[in-house]
Symmetry: C2
Subunit: 307 residues, 2 copies
């Protein structure tokens, strides 16, 4: 799976992305951001067909949520925790002298009560649990936020900080399972409307360590994760631009979320990776959106005004 090494230089050269000096961390130029916002609105109109409850979390969430969620078991190497300085003026002088000398100043920092959001839906589950037993048929929520994963990479499709737009479904197992399967088809249709040649594939998460290999095998065997892949910088099988994940009773058990009939709720989510969709569109149709096919431009730029 070779990386097409011409894409990132082209994006930087044309100002679609701007380098920050840290691998996987980019400033978005006006054209990149406009495409992303237009796709976000396009996807949002499709998600709104489910009449979801709209909630928005900031890019940080309680550390307690990360600790309870199981994320640290599976992905400790991707999680970002937030530290700060809580010392006095003498300690501050020491901190500054270390910074000045280019020395390690990490020992001046203390862990706070917040961490970076690893996927847009993580803060949803405790909020849903706090609201009490689910109504019959469950709940559907729409979330979107910047997410963080510590995986510095030369692949522009693997950013450390990126946006996800998600729907989350909680309810009876049969309801949730049918819902997530239907969204694989709907995702293919939706992305196909934008001229993207998307392939569906069972997938697994990048679990940590040797034990992670077994988790990954089980996840694939149980068909819990599907990805919709489109060509970006990975030449062969493509990169996931949307994923549909079935958590079964994972979050329901952890947070004590119950269905109307008293069972442990199941949950699933679907998410669009907004930077990745933007990159897939740029790779498919070229780096000048003004010259994209009429039907794609109409879907992204003009449909809102005429709907």
């Amino acid at each position: 799976m070779a990386l097409d090494e011409t894409l990132l230089p082209a994006l930087l050269d044309q100002g679609l992305l701007i380098d920050t000096g840290v691998p996987g961390l980019y400033c978005r130029g006006a054209i990149f951001e406009d495409v992303l916002q237009r796709f976000d609105a396009f996807a949002g109109r499709a998600l709104a067909a489910e009449s979801p409850e709209v909630v928005r979390f900031p890019p940080v969430m309680p550390r307690r949520t990360l600790e309870r969620s199981g994320y640290l078991k599976s992905f400790p190497h991707l999680a970002g925790t937030v530290f700060t300085y809580t010392g006095d003026e003498q300690g501050h002088a020491d901190l500054l002298s270390r910074v000045e000398a280019g020395a390690d100043w990490s020992s001046s920092q203390s862990m706070t009560e917040v961490v970076l959001v690893p996927a847009a839906c993580y803060p949803v589950y405790p909020a849903v649990a706090a609201a009490g037993t689910l109504p019959p048929g469950g709940r559907t929520l729409e979330v979107a936020s910047y997410c963080f994963r510590h995986e510095p990479s030369a692949d522009p499709a693997r950013m450390q900080s990126f946006r996800m737009h998600e729907l989350v479904r909680l309810g009876e197992p049969s309801v949730v399972d049918a819902w997530r399967r239907s969204w694989i088809t709907r995702g293919l249709e939706l992305l196909g409307q934008l001229g993207l040649a998307v392939a569906e594939a069972p997938a697994n998460d990048p679990f940590f360590g040797r034990g992670g290999r077994l988790l990954a095998t089980n996840q694939r065997a149980a068909e819990l994760k599907f990805e919709l892949l489109a060509p970006i910088a990975q030449s062969a099988e493509g990169t996931a631009i949307m994923s549909v994940n079935y958590h079964q009773d994972h979050f329901g058990t952890i947070y004590g979320i119950r269905t109307a009939d008293g069972e442990v709720a199941h949950s699933a989510c679907l998410g669009f990776g907004l930077e990745r969709v933007t990159l897939a569109l740029l790779v498919r149709h070229g780096l000048e959106p003004a010259r994209w096919p009429d039907e794609v431009r109409h879907a992204l730029w003009e449909s809102e005004a005429t709907r």
Copy 2:
């Protein structure tokens, strides 16, 4: 300066904000987020009159940018640094057992190359410097992002994670000074159009430690910072919902940014605190935007469709 303690419970009760269990960290409900997005678009139309270069940074930036910026000298207690786990499987088992036991697991974490963005304009200056000498008349950039400040508070107007929408001006000293003064008046007009009774006041930043008192006095004496204040939860003088800051040659010197005639560039910025403006509107007009005065609803909800 007493805090109105009825506002936050009302916001939570009506689902405008949703508690996360961490002071100063909230989920935004659909109504709160809609008002915020509408104001953001309203402000964006005013900022666009300057034809700024639009760039967007994620909510994390290179640690090196924080180290060079001077922020750690003035505000070490507010800065958020990002840590992660870089160890092996044995260390992972130890991390998990600490989490399980509710013990301190901070020693498992290592400092990464990224930090949280403390104000939307911080990542701009190194990017501008990298682009070379400014053109005659300088440059104007528009930025917006989630910002982080570690200051847990019971005041809903003092969130740990909040959004700023900013214009940044870099150029010759006289150009930058005139520009930032003009925006104090324009900010008052703009916010006044939304029915907000806004007061202008010289201000200072919350510098750290005893030495910070002198910095604050100097900043006020030189009239480098102005805030536009509106009533939110602080009963007396109001809370800053917009600020205009003149950095003089601070960033120009640090990053080596030069004007067309070879002098060190000056810089200034203006920023709207989007959550604070949203709160000020809710306090001024009530918690039900559907019942706000026609002229405010027109400015926020209908002007885009008819422009």
